[in-house]
């Protein structure tokens, strides 16, 4: 059973998120976890979302599947999911429950950071994988089991028959993440959202998991949204990258544009804090001064201004910078580039 590459218009985004706002109404006040985020996910490409903990990257992707629990709420924005076979798009925010269930796990699947707790501890792995198949593909029980086995082989697991009967806690961390990937991809989704899929794994398993994702993407042609705080993972896998800071995307572009020529001082600082083996002499790594501000005490203007080395008084602490186009595809929100 080989899935053929989808014959598609590569230049039209599969998913177009505009001005997404997800706020949390806590007892201490409103936290604007996601505050006007734009994203474009192109067919067969990988979009990396990178940022420090608490920048809203996870909330952004959870919002895409409307998985925000109380006290969180998606306040506004559009999330147009394009359907190539029917040449029409629908706004995920406007779907009814039935349509939403078809998108969840059907057109957009998700894998999570902690594969251990992301599986139910009292249901077998097979039960949970075949459940996804039965929900989205019109398969009988036996066909579902066969397909699940087939997917466990594709993600590189030995003894698939036996694995299906095992529980998540009987598998190793790497195997669990492979099973998770199999569960997410067995329905042939157009988009896979990977929420820090390698954070909980050791370095070797991390590399294997990333290789596996890339390999599956080449075979199936799905798009990936990769969330991580690890710039190495982004460099390895992403075609495009969005840098987030305090609920906003502050720079976006192709991996080449952003990594070779970072424009935003924050991106710049992030990239320069990666240790390099190439430089022969030993020197201190530059550090980014300060910490992420408390969510209820967002700085006025550009949220990065208190930590920015290029801070312009009277400008950066007054107004959030408009989006500026550096070149085709490379966008930045920073007053340094305001025209």
């Amino acid at each position: 059973m080989v899935t053929e590459k989808k014959n598609i218009n590569k230049s039209r985004p599969l998913l177009e998120v505009r001005d997404l706002q997800t706020y949390f109404y806590t007892a201490d006040g409103v936290v604007k976890a996601v505050d006007g985020v734009n994203l474009d996910v192109f067919p067969g490409k990988t979009l990396g979302i990178v940022g420090e903990s608490g920048c809203g990257k996870s909330i952004t992707t959870k919002s895409i599947l409307r998985l925000i629990d109380n006290p969180g709420k998606i306040l506004g924005g559009t999330m147009n999911l394009y359907d190539q076979s029917h040449d029409q798009s629908q706004d995920i925010l406007k779907l009814n429950n039935q349509e939403l269930k078809e998108v969840r796990g059907g057109r957009i699947s998700m894998i999570f950071q902690e594969p251990m707790t992301s599986f139910s501890p009292i249901h077998t792995v097979g039960n949970q994988i075949t459940e996804a198949i039965k929900l989205h593909l019109n398969h009988s029980k036996n066909e579902a089991i066969e397909l699940a086995e087939d997917w466990l082989i594709r993600v590189g697991m030995s003894n698939p028959k036996q694995r299906l009967k095992q529980y998540a806690f009987e598998l190793s961390g790497g195997q669990r993440q492979r099973a998770m990937i199999a569960m997410a991809l067995c329905t042939n989704p157009d988009i896979l959202i990977a929420d820090e899929p390698t954070t909980a794994l050791d370095v070797t398993t991390q590399a294997q998991t990333l290789d596996l994702l890339r390999e599956l993407q080449e075979k199936n042609g799905m798009s990936i949204i990769m969330i991580t705080h690890d710039l190495g993972v982004i460099a390895e896998l992403a075609d495009e990258v969005n840098v987030m800071y305090l609920g906003k995307v502050i720079e976006s572009g192709t991996i080449h544009q952003v990594f070779k020529d970072p424009k935003h001082p924050y991106t710049h600082a992030l990239l320069s804090s990666i240790p390099s083996l190439a430089t022969g002499h030993r020197e201190r790594l530059p550090i980014l001064p300060g910490t992420i501000p408390h969510p209820q005490a967002r700085p006025k203007g550009c949220p990065f201004n208190p930590r920015c080395k290029d801070f312009i008084e009277g400008t950066c602490d007054v107004e959030f910078p408009k989006q500026e186009k550096i070149e085709e595809g490379h966008l930045v929100n920073c007053h340094l580039y305001s025209k």
């Binding site: 629990d69 998700m110 992301s118 009292i122 949970q128």
Partner: protein, 332 residues
């Protein structure tokens, strides 16, 4: 898993043995013995018993021997002949005195457990899933009221209301014509007609606490990552709640059921007196007052046995429903 079962079974027998020791110890706690009580009783009716006659009585009943010998005799009779001794009060073997009461107690306890589960689990689920809704507040309110009112109070209120409204006295487990007659279909039906009032009265507190426990457990489970995974898969909300978090939240409820059993029996003593139930509770009180030692000891022993065996059964149930226990128990 076999190892675990063997170990667990051995522990059960150790616990049962400890129960016999404790029962025997409790029986011998009060000053004096049956003969002392017997003499006091005779004196109250005006007859006198001299010291020699009292000693003869003690020898007759074996009360003159050291405690450990009394204990071993008691144990040997119990293990070899299922004989719990002789009730001085009733002049009958203990087993005969309590057998029907014990059966009715078990029936009532099982009815209570079914009632508790049937009410507490669904209400607890609704309370957790619709947290802070009208239903949650209503069930929480009812739960606290149920916990706060002592069950004998509920029994009295129930009796009063039934008497005033329906001119019907809800005492006992049978209509008068079925008391003390052999079992028949009519008697069974009569029991079913009568059992539900004591069942509700006795089950109220257990229902309230199990509902709170189910709610708390489920609230914990509802925020676990596997719930989000299931939701991201496209499962409908109720289906996923019933399949995943509810199943996990039920495990503590299963282990709790073992503790409901002794609670129902000891808790049923006052209610049993108020509602004049033919259960072992009221009989235990009577036996203790009369210092009818083998009867009291027998009842305490059987309640203890039921608790130990109930815990064992609930452990087996947990083993069956929770693979984590099943497989980890096998590994160690």
């Amino acid at each position: 898993m076999i190892n675990f079962l063997i170990r667990r079974t051995v522990f059960m027998f150790v616990a049962l043995w400890a129960v016999t020791l404790i029962s025997f110890f409790i029986i011998n706690l009060p000053e004096g013995d049956y003969v002392t009580a017997y003499i006091a009783q005779l004196q109250a009716t005006g007859s006198m018993v001299d010291a020699e006659e009292a000693d003869n009585l003690r020898i007759f009943y074996g009360l003159d021997q050291p405690l450990y010998i009394q204990y071993f005799k008691w144990m040997r009779e119990m293990v070899l002949y299922q004989n719990l001794g002789f009730s001085f009060e009733y002049n009958m073997p203990v087993t005969e005195v309590i057998s029907e009461r014990l059966l009715l107690t078990m029936i009532l306890a099982i009815a209570c457990i079914i009632f508790i589960w049937a009410i507490a689990i669904p209400f607890g689920i609704i309370s957790a899933v619709k947290q802070y809704s009208v239903w949650d507040y209503l069930f929480t309110f009812l739960g606290f009221v149920g916990l706060a009112i002592p069950d004998f109070m509920i029994a009295l209120i129930a009796m009063y209301l039934f008497f005033v409204w329906f001119d019907f006295s809800p005492g006992g487990l049978f209509s008068p014509e079925y008391v003390g007659v052999p079992w028949s279909w009519g008697r069974g039906k009569d029991l079913i007609d009568h059992i539900w009032i004591p069942m509700v009265v006795l089950g109220t507190a257990g229902t309230a606490s199990l509902m709170r426990i189910t709610r708390a457990n489920l609230l914990d489970e509802l925020s676990k990552p596997y719930v989000i995974t299931a939701r991201a898969k496209g499962l409908s909300e109720w289906r996923l709640i019933m399949k995943y978090p509810v199943r996990l939240a039920l495990n503590p409820a299963i282990s709790l059921t073992a503790y409901i059993l002794p609670y129902l029996i000891s808790g049923s003593i006052i209610v049993g007196v108020v509602l004049s139930l033919p259960t072992v509770g009221p009989q235990l009180v009577k036996a203790l007052v009369a210092q009818d030692m083998f009867l009291a000891g027998g009842i305490i022993l059987l309640i203890g046995f039921m608790t130990v065996v109930g815990t064992f059964i609930s452990d087996l149930l947990l083993l069956w429903v929770d693979p984590r226990i099943r497989l980890e128990a096998g590994g160690s």
